[in-house]
């Protein structure tokens, strides 16, 4: 059985996804509505961080614009759900059509940015995507009639289906939607990473010239990764719109884009399991620092200034320290520990529980030459 699983990647990923789905389903029945809402938020973030970690860690393209791409998804969802709702559509289509539209629209935007970005390296692409993020508020103000300016738009969301019972909490329903989207994203990305295309992606990251010599179309690979990554961010943005039932430019600031990047870096660049850690941190850290700020803040004025800013400072510090001291992040730590325990005992067995790659995240060939 284990041999079969080791050979069939798709089967293994399907089983893991199924198990995770059942576990999450059970979990939503034990959690309070507030915790369910947090779980749903985490799942929405996970869609984006998983796509971002593949982009940054496995194709070597740094995007500071995933917050903006999530904004594209969220706004598309809001516009589309209003449009579909006006035509009297109800039920699952009111949910699915806007989500599909959000993914498609974001993928198109990602394609345009990716086309420009495929010719660039490190700082240039980072600057381009940074500009994309800065531009979001300007666009929503310019097209205030359609996009609602600083106020944003409200999103039409139906309550949980009546067949689940009248007392079924909305938060649990939201958690179901969000977790389903996140699981789907993880399943698709895990397969992509383990496919031929995933290997091409890593070849491009490690050495573009060598990859080109081995017959890989470098530009095409980079653009496709960017499109896939943008599509997942769009899905995350759409889910976020469902959860908050509103979209506004303030929710997709530069800091938010940096948070996504930070989550990916701390979780472990290039590792899908690390993206889960990152999404967890994105939900947990603000709550911890905010309660901390409430305790420190003796005067209301100080508390107001600490609110939000303290978590920014902690995020930034952690980002710097992790990058300098521990570039492989939490998942690097986890796999190092698990490798050590495996070596000192049982015979090696394939672990179906992880969807990580075994290579270190961004090893470049220049490193080995230097060594």
């Amino acid at each position: 059985m284990i041999e079969l699983l080791a050979r069939h990647t798709l089967l293994r990923h399907l089983l893991v996804t199924l198990a995770a789905g059942v576990a999450l389903l059970a979990l939503t029945y034990t959690l309070s509505p507030y915790r369910n809402y947090q779980l749903a938020t985490m799942a929405a973030y996970l869609c984006a961080t998983a796509g971002l970690t593949v982009l940054v860690g496995l194709s070597g393209q740094l995007s500071l614009g995933h917050g903006a791409l999530m904004a594209v998804g969220a706004y598309t969802y809001a516009l589309m759900s209003a449009e579909v709702g006006d035509r009297g559509t109800t039920g699952p289509m009111l949910l699915l059509l806007p989500l599909v539209a959000a993914v498609v629209a974001t993928a198109i935007v990602g394609g345009i940015v990716g086309l420009a970005g495929a010719r660039l390296f490190g700082p240039y692409l980072a600057g381009l995507t940074l500009t994309l993020t800065i531009v979001v508020p300007a666009i929503t103000t310019t097209f205030a009639d359609q996009l609602g300016g600083d106020q944003g738009l409200s999103v039409l969301v139906e309550p949980a289906p009546a067949s689940l019972g009248i007392t079924f909490p909305l938060e649990r329903w939201q958690a179901w939607i969000a977790c389903a989207a996140a699981l789907l994203t993880m399943l698709l990305l895990a397969n992509l990473v383990h496919s031929r295309f995933g290997r091409e992606m890593r070849a491009v990251r490690d050495d573009e010239v060598a990859a080109r010599l081995s017959g890989i179309n470098v530009q095409r690979t980079k653009v496709i990764v960017f499109v896939v990554s943008a599509a997942t961010a769009g899905l995350g943005g759409g889910i976020l719109a469902i959860l908050t039932q509103s979209v506004s430019p303030g929710a997709f600031s530069l800091a938010f884009s940096l948070f996504l990047l930070m989550a990916v870096v701390i979780g472990g660049i290039g590792s899908l399991a690390g993206a889960v850690w990152g999404a967890l941190l994105l939900v947990a850290l603000p709550e911890i620092t905010d309660s901390l700020a409430d305790n420190i803040g003796s005067s209301p004025q100080l508390a107001e200034r600490l609110d939000g800013n303290l978590s920014l400072a902690v995020f930034g510090l952690v980002l710097i320290l992790v990058t300098i001291v521990f570039p492989r992040g939490i998942q690097g730590l986890v796999s190092a520990v698990s490798q050590r325990t495996r070596r000192s005992g049982r015979p090696p067995s394939s672990r179906p529980g992880t969807t990580t790659t075994e290579d270190p995240p961004t090893t470049t060939s220049s490193e080995s030459i230097d060594a």
């Binding site: 660039l120 995020f315 990058t323």
Partner: protein, 292 residues
Amino acid sequence: MDPFIFLTVDGLARGAVFAAFALALVLIWRGARLVNFSQGAMAAATTFIAYSVTNASGSYWLGLVAAVVSGLVIGAITERYVMRFVDPTQHLNAVIVALGLVLVIQAILGIIYGSQYRPMDVPFSRSPLSIGDQPLLSPYDIFVFVTVLAVMAGLGFAFTRTDIGLKMRAAAFAPDMARLLGVNVGRMLTLSWALAGAVGGLAALLVVPTELGAHPHATDLVFVYAFTAAVIGGLDSPIGAVVGGLGVGLVLSYVSGYSDNDLSAVVILGLLIGVLLLRPSGLFSHATARQV
């Protein structure tokens, strides 16, 4: 009356500031081969320091000196105690650490000063002088031009005519060779960052009072404009940064002058994408051999 001449002069005045800021980015790029994404946040910090000094002493000029000196110090500290520990073989790491710095600096500024805009005074009038009935540039614009020109002349002199400038160029272009010849490459790098911090701080102090005032995020857009200017110029070329800066200033001025909406940021995004698609290495770059 056609506002073209006024918009042109106004655009050049704004562009001079972007040019100076872009020059700060180029300084660090040439020395360390990395774009300092924390340049904007560092400049926001120096602007707040200038604001505090000016408020305490009542003198604009003391604030100006404070901005330059604190820029030198912040730049040097950032290089010596943060950036030097970043793994140079991983290109993305320096960018990520710089972004971490952005979060930290802006959070600290937010905690100390809060998040409302704090208007700042300028030492000269900002109402434009007219020749005939044609409004031209204001005394403050002249001050900006003179200051930026002085900075550029100073940097140009330092880099081409002095011993330390020669050492800095040597350390940037051939670090190993320079080290063999007795140049302290690490110190030269620290000096580049310090100079960049000072130039960035000065540029921010020139532009921030003309907008809404000091704010932790006041320099975000300035950084984006300056980055665009530096990319247009090719990141490697000081002349390119100046031309790019002036160009960005002109474009912004024409867009805000001739269109009703505030499309400036969107236009800059288009400009950046256009330049990157057509000529990714910038207009003033040298032809480089492909590195294998």
